[in-house]
Symmetry: C2
Subunit: 186 residues, 2 copies
DNA sequence: GCCTGCATGTAAACGGTTACATGATTCG
DNA sequence: CGAATCATGTAACCGTTTACATGCAGGC
């Protein structure tokens, strides 16, 4: 995640079709917000940088929005970045941190975290299902479809697995807690 | 992840046993580095902050390392934080971003990403298995064991699911790419 | 006329990593 | 003796989020 991937995210989105900063934000929200986000405070300055570097150019627009598209150089740069190897970075997981320290909390708190965790992932699965239907009809002939479905299924696989894990994990925890009934805290 | 969780991570680790900044770093590396990391540049100033707020105090030490432990107030604060609900945040996923944009890259690049992705998760599973063995013997009587194993299993479940996903996803992609043989790019 | 959504941007603050500086201790 | 590791800390930088400021357009 280190090497300024925001710029490439923007570059990639503009490669789909010319867009304004505002449209980029909306598009992200509707498509990749499950694994990627950009704020306006990031988008507009980055867009200016990309233009300054000749990776993106502004195209004339009838409306008051400023449309941008990648230049040839920009497309090359995008391809280069896409081919670059990915270091799988460790993203912080507050849920796991709290589980790791759960001995210091009451069992009620942990149970609530598990409940919310499950609810969250069930909700995500519902969203994914809706997105899947929509994608298939809206992008019937798009060359991107297969990749976008694959990305969607990543989320589905993850949430399903974590839901299952949550079930067994909580049952296991209940078992050991009844065994050492009494003493809490360290 | 928003509200300064670093401080609580340190507080939680110090609740396990009094530690120096250096030891905190080492402990993180050996235990929760799969889902949490702190750098020295973060640890030492945060430790100073925690002391200034009366959540942590320094305990005398024979060696040249400065040992810290949570105060009563600190323990209370930790418990309070542990009970707080968790908003499941979206962490950026470069792999998925590249998959989403894969139409702009060559199929070789995508194949390589998948290979590395699989290799990475297989490696993780190997590490998890080793950690599991070690944990069970080293913490046989610890009240933390059950939680730590649960946290470990989270990673196992995730990696297993993603390995499976990668297999089917790549196969699906291969199918559609042979169907639309010829045209690449947009 | 007013509210919502469209639209662009800036400034400040934040959380975090990296690099640097320094020196003691331990072990081969 | 020299290298690795222990140990503490600071400064600079980076990417990102949040809040703020501004104003137009379209529909109720």
């Amino acid at each position: 995640m280190k090497p300024r991937s925001s710029r490439f995210a923007l570059l990639g989105l503009l490669a789909l079709r010319p867009m304004s900063g505002y449209e980029i934000r909306k598009t992200i929200e509707r498509s990749i917000s499950n694994f990627w986000n950009e704020s306006f405070g990031q988008i507009y300055p980055t867009l200016a940088d990309l233009v300054a570097e000749g990776l993106v150019r502004e195209v004339p627009s009838k409306s008051r929005s400023r449309l941008f598209e990648p230049t040839e150089k920009g497309k090359k740069e995008l391809e280069r970045w896409l081919a670059e190897p990915i270091e799988l970075s460790v993203s912080r997981n507050v849920f796991l941190l709290k589980l790791f320290l759960a001995r210091f909390a009451g069992p009620e708190a942990t149970r609530r975290h598990f409940d919310e965790f499950r609810a969250g992932h069930r909700e995500r699965l519902r969203e994914y299902a809706a997105t899947r239907v929509w994608l298939k009809s809206a992008l019937r002939s798009s060359a991107h479809l297969a990749y976008w479905l694959a990305a969607l299924d990543y989320g589905v696989a993850e949430s399903k697995a974590l839901l299952e894990w949550a079930g067994t994990a909580e049952r296991d925890l209940a078992l050991t807690s009844t065994k050492n009934e009494g003493a809490r805290r360290k």
